[in-house]
Amino acid sequence: MNRREAAIDLGVRAAFMALVYLAFALQLPNYYTVHGIAALLDGAVLIGTVSIGVGITMLAGEFDLSVGSLAAVTGVVVIKMVGIGIIPSLIVGVLFAAAIGALQGLIIGVLGINSLVFTIGSLIGLRGVALILSHENSVTIPIDQLSDTDFFTTPLLGVFSPLSAGMVIVFVVAGLFLRFTRWGREIYAIGGGRTEAKAAGVPLLRPMIIAFTCSGALAGLGGAVLSLRLGSATPLGFDTLLLSAATTCLMGGIALEGGRGSVVGIAIGLFTLRFLVTGVASLGAPYYVQNLAAGGLLIVVVVVQLLATRHRQRRARMTLALQPG
């Protein structure tokens, strides 16, 4: 895929997102009021943040299945530590999740183990940790501290709350990191051609650890923020988070085999899904319609993408074959 084709790919996805938006905006006034858009953004924060992390591991040609459990553990940790203050406990929680992620990256990188296999283990194991830490019960913020978390959703600037502004910052930082730093490009390199990257002299362990640290930290951030906002965390929470995040990445054109895709794509995938799911819910449709719609949409996008790739490859192969040499 050359630069033009990559731009067209993103353009088509963005146009599709706009189409979904328009389809619902015609019937739902809260799709274009400041308050409505702010709510849409706030609703996208958890999945958006975690999707970036999952997307980064996918770019590295790996997969982190443990994000849901890690979000739950971090939520419990943060709520239990909230006595030290909202922001300090948030920071500790994210550092904890980042450390777990780094450890996973280290083990996967050193042992050369398949990350799907390994993170199925940590998916289950971390859920156990959440249950231990919470004594198998929901944990809650003390009543007198509850109002301390209101600032998360008070409007900050236009449609942005501190929460959604934070997500935008995560997107921008991740995008710049992946696009313009050596470490970011090495993540693409090990995903786009592991043996080639190794032969070129990339130490495989470094991008591996960075990728899993990112997905761990962002899963922790998502889990911590949502738990603080709700004032409670349950050890069994976030069980559908992984699927939503993976759906977002696939909708946004992150290649499952690694090396291809961008943060802009993840953003487009995120909002395509949010517009659809929120819209269906706002229209009062039953819950199963949301599932049907999201699942159907993903399948359509993936199939169209596959057909486009096939077409392009066939064309490329023919021109290559007809070239002298």
């Binding site: 050359n2 313009f180 970011g184 051609g193 080639e196 192969r317």
Partner: protein
């Protein structure tokens, strides 16, 4: 060589792949500022040696000293830190990354990779290799293989290493591009860097190398000054003593035409190819990697699309769009990647031998154990695979026995045409003779056989008829009996010398 001038000294390097010995106690050294050519037939061990130096493979025994310091080179990044940079035959270009990013990949010099900054860093290297007009932000996967090869050489330039390895850097390049590469090599040597240049092209040795080390069957010979050699002497050293008894006697070919190609074009061929193949004939397609020899059999086998011309099998047009079609038409094809395409490594030999012929051993849709055992035993008996090995996994066998399985299983479909790529790659010398005998035996039974080989001895010894290929075109077709080794070597390495009126 004087000991103080050596930047690299490798001693007693040995390497085995399974049961195959690739290197046996090889010593090798390199002086500062010299261009050392490595020559040898395929499988002679020269690529293995440079891979060990590049950190891509680990030696089983031996020591490596760089600049007088003992080094352990366990990964490409360690070799890079020790001052070794290389370009190998297998590209190390990451397709989704840009040209500039690929050049900088693996270097620790810059943390921020903006398009402008990288372009500034790589521009002069791209200019030097003749890619000056390429946008360095293009994804490298969009370039042709030749251009990617040049990008690798640009990466080599950017590395600032003392020892540079070029492993057949010109295999995929055009003449104009080859000139650029040679100029780059000369510049680098003039800067005092040492270059190891692996090649099959004898002409290049005389043009750029100071010394040449010849490899044969995993051993290296003492380096020779290029100035003291001419092409004929070099060829003599390269071929060594021929192993006459390796090859079975030829038969006489008088059968009808089995396979007829007319003006066939396919991916990898620059010019159309035509030839006839008779019943009982063995045709050897000789050529180096990328010469187009393999492209011909792949087009016949339906692996790659035929782009033009006609292929007739027994006088009827054959249009194999897939390997499945070709098998149905009675064509058996053994690829050169035995581990991937030739055997089911973790299945036993009963299953391996019978895998292409399941209908034959099935009764009413159910596999018949009796028929399976019978067919596998017959094939094993023919190929002299010990019967008590039939229960073991194919992956556990030696290379030679694996190749017998890869070949033998096809007899189950009772083919009329057998296509084999590199029949003895990774096969011990002893087992080679057996493989040759079996292939001849099949031809004597009436099979038409086409094999592709970059091993010239094998082509001369086994084939009835030889077709030589060079860079995507058929050079000539001739009876093997009348072909001299020197002529064959010239045909597949630099036939221009013949065309220009050199001794043929």
């Amino acid at each position: 060589m004087q000991s103080d001038g050596a930047v690299l000294r490798m001693r007693g390097i040995s390497k085995r792949y399974g049961s195959v010995t690739a290197l046996q106690g090889v010593d090798f050294s390199l002086a500062a500022g010299e261009v050392m050519a490595l020559l040898g037939e395929n499988g002679a061990g020269k690529s293995t040696l440079v891979k060990i130096l590049a950190g891509l493979e680990r030696a089983d025994a031996g020591t490596i000293e760089i600049g007088g310091v003992l080094r352990r080179l366990r990964s490409p990044s360690q070799s890079l830190h020790a001052g070794v940079a290389y370009v190998t035959q297998e590209l190390s270009i990451v397709a989704p990354l840009s040209v500039a990013e690929n050049i900088c990949l693996g270097s620790d010099r810059h943390a921020l990779w903006s398009r402008r900054r990288l372009d500034r860093v790589v521009r002069r290297h791209l200019d030097l290799v003749g890619l000056g007009d390429i946008d360095s932000a293009t994804p490298a996967g969009d370039l042709s293989v030749a251009q990617q090869q040049l990008v690798e050489i640009a990466r080599l330039l950017s590395r600032n290493a003392r020892i540079l390895i070029l492993d057949e850097p010109t295999a995929a390049l055009s003449d104009a591009e080859i000139e650029k590469v040679k100029a780059v090599v000369r510049t680098l040597a003039a800067e005092g860097r040492s270059i190891i240049y692996v090649t099959h092209r004898l002409g290049e040795v005389f043009e750029i190398a100071d010394r040449v080390t010849i490899f044969r069957n995993g051993h290296s010979f003492a380096p020779m000054e290029v100035k003291s050699l001419d092409v004929d002497r070099l060829i003599e050293h390269l071929l060594g003593r021929r192993l006459e008894q390796m090859f079975p006697e030829r038969g006489s070919i008088s059968g009808p035409v089995v396979l007829a190609l007319r003006d066939v074009t396919a991916p990898g061929l620059r010019e159309p190819v035509s030839f006839d193949l008779h019943k009982g004939e063995i045709l050897g397609l000789a050529g180096q990697l990328g010469s187009g020899a393999a492209a011909v059999v792949r087009a016949i086998a339906g692996v790659t699309p035929r782009l033009g011309g006609t292929i007739a099998l027994h006088g009827r047009p054959l249009d194999a769009r897939s390997v499945r079609n070709a098998i149905a038409a009675g064509i058996a094809y053994c690829s050169d990647d035995r581990k991937r395409d030739g055997i089911f490594a973790v299945r036993n030999l009963f299953e391996n031998f019978t895998s292409p012929a399941l209908p034959r051993i099935t009764v009413g849709g159910v596999l018949s154990r009796g028929r399976e055992v019978k067919l596998a035993s017959d094939l094993a008996a023919f190929f002299e695979v010990a019967r008590d090995r039939l229960g073991s996994h194919a992956g556990k066998l030696s290379g030679g026995n694996q190749q017998k399985v890869a070949l033998g299983k096809w007899l189950g479909i009772e083919p009329s045409l057998l296509l084999v790529e590199e029949p003895t790659r990774g096969v011990d010398v002893g087992a080679r003779a057996e493989i040759y005998r079996h292939m001849r035996g099949l031809a004597n039974q009436g099979l038409a056989v086409v094999f592709v080989s970059s091993d010239n001895q094998e082509v001369l010894g086994l084939a009835d008829t030889v077709a030589t290929f060079f860079r995507g075109r058929l050079v000539r077709i001739t009876a093997a009996e009348h072909l001299k080794p020197e002529e064959l070597l010239r045909d597949v390495t630099h036939p221009e010398a013949v065309a220009a009126g050199g001794p043929a």
